[in-house]
């Protein structure tokens, strides 16, 4: 037999009512408190993690910058040394030029060497002549 709608409604209405436990409200507040405390804890950790990342990034940047600066200084130093060397060589050349005829040793061995006089260039001539074949 199928129950009538009224019987069904009565049956549903007369079901025993479940009641919340006596410490229900306290447990809700406790749960809320623990959730908030967890959230605060998480927030603190997030801030700490962010700070750590910031510090690590800053340190890395600092180290990278220092290395770049050191490389730059090393390059400048090398250029200075090279410049000083060139200046020294130039000075020696000028000294040689002042002492006598400017010449350039093209080739040679123990017995002879081919030397090209550079005076024509220095004096403005276009076709220099071989200065001499001279024996040692």
């Amino acid at each position: 037999m199928r129950p009538s709608p009224e019987d069904l409604r009565d049956a549903l209405a007369s079901l025993p009512r479940a009641r919340a436990s006596s410490d229900f409200a306290a447990r809700v507040l406790e749960r809320l408190e623990s959730r908030e405390s967890r959230r605060r804890h998480r927030a603190r950790w997030s801030v700490a993690a962010l700070l750590l990342v910031a510090v690590a990034t800053g340190t890395l940047w600092e180290v990278t910058e220092r290395r770049r600066e050191m490389r730059r200084q090393a390059r400048v130093e090398a250029l200075r040394e090279e410049s000083a060397t060139l200046a020294r060589e130039l000075a020696e050349l000028r000294k040689l030029t002042a002492q006598g005829e400017a010449s350039l040793v093209l080739t040679g061995d123990e017995d002879y060497e081919i030397v090209m006089g550079l005076s024509p260039w220095i004096e403005g001539e276009t076709r220099p002549a071989l200065a001499a074949d001279r024996n040692r």
């Binding site: 199928r2 069904l8 079901l15 479940a18 009641r19 409200a25 306290a26 809700v28 809320l32």
Partner: protein, 192 residues
């Protein structure tokens, strides 16, 4: 004086104070609705223990998501909406577990309803009634329980579900029909 103010205060007023961090106001709000909510969820979930857990979670969510509530005298509806959504999520989770169970041979069947509540019931008919209720799809079960167990008006149910009264009426009617068919073999006349 404070207690008197709390007793007289509307749900909205209590909730406004709870939002500001007044734990006493929140406790009063919880006291006011806890039994009805636990009973509603017991009929929805089929287990008092689980209903109690869901009801506690409902109040916690109410506070946590208080920004989503605009006071229009509908706090009770808002509270039950949260509870219903939690129940819906729980059932969805159970369905997923049920699908995974054979695959992973899981030892703890989470969908198994605790029997404690049923043991307390005096007769088989009530047991069948509760089993029938639990077997109803959620969109039928929610309005039926609110109407026939919690004695809500159609208007209030419609407000809670955010749905017109017409469809609510027909859903309740359909739910009763499904339940009557289910109880057909066991009905011996009379009520529990």
């Amino acid at each position: 004086m404070e207690a008197l103010q709390t007793v007289d205060a509307s749900d909205g007023e209590l909730f406004a104070r709870a939002r500001e961090g007044d734990r006493a106001a929140l406790a009063d709000l919880v006291e006011r609705h806890k039994d009805a909510l636990v009973n509603y969820l017991t009929r929805m979930a089929g287990s008092r223990d689980r209903a109690e857990d869901l009801a506690q979670e409902t109040f916690v969510r109410l506070v946590e998501r208080s920004d989503g509530y605009r006071e229009q005298g509908q706090l009770k509806a808002y509270l039950y909406r949260i509870a219903t959504n939690l129940q819906r999520s729980a059932e969805r989770r159970e369905r997923r577990w049920r699908l995974l169970e054979p695959v992973f041979a899981l030892g703890v069947p989470t969908h198994e309803r605790p029997r404690q509540d049923l043991r307390l019931l005096r007769d088989e008919l009530a047991e069948q009634l509760l089993a029938g209720l639990r077997a109803l799809p959620l969109h039928y079960r929610v309005p039926l329980v609110l109407r026939d167990v919690e004695d809500w008006s159609y208007q209030d149910i419609s407000g809670m579900l955010g749905c017109a009264v017409g469809p609510i009426t027909s859903r309740i009617h359909r739910a009763r029909e499904l339940l009557r068919v289910r109880l057909e073999d066991r009905w011996k006349g009379g009520t529990t």
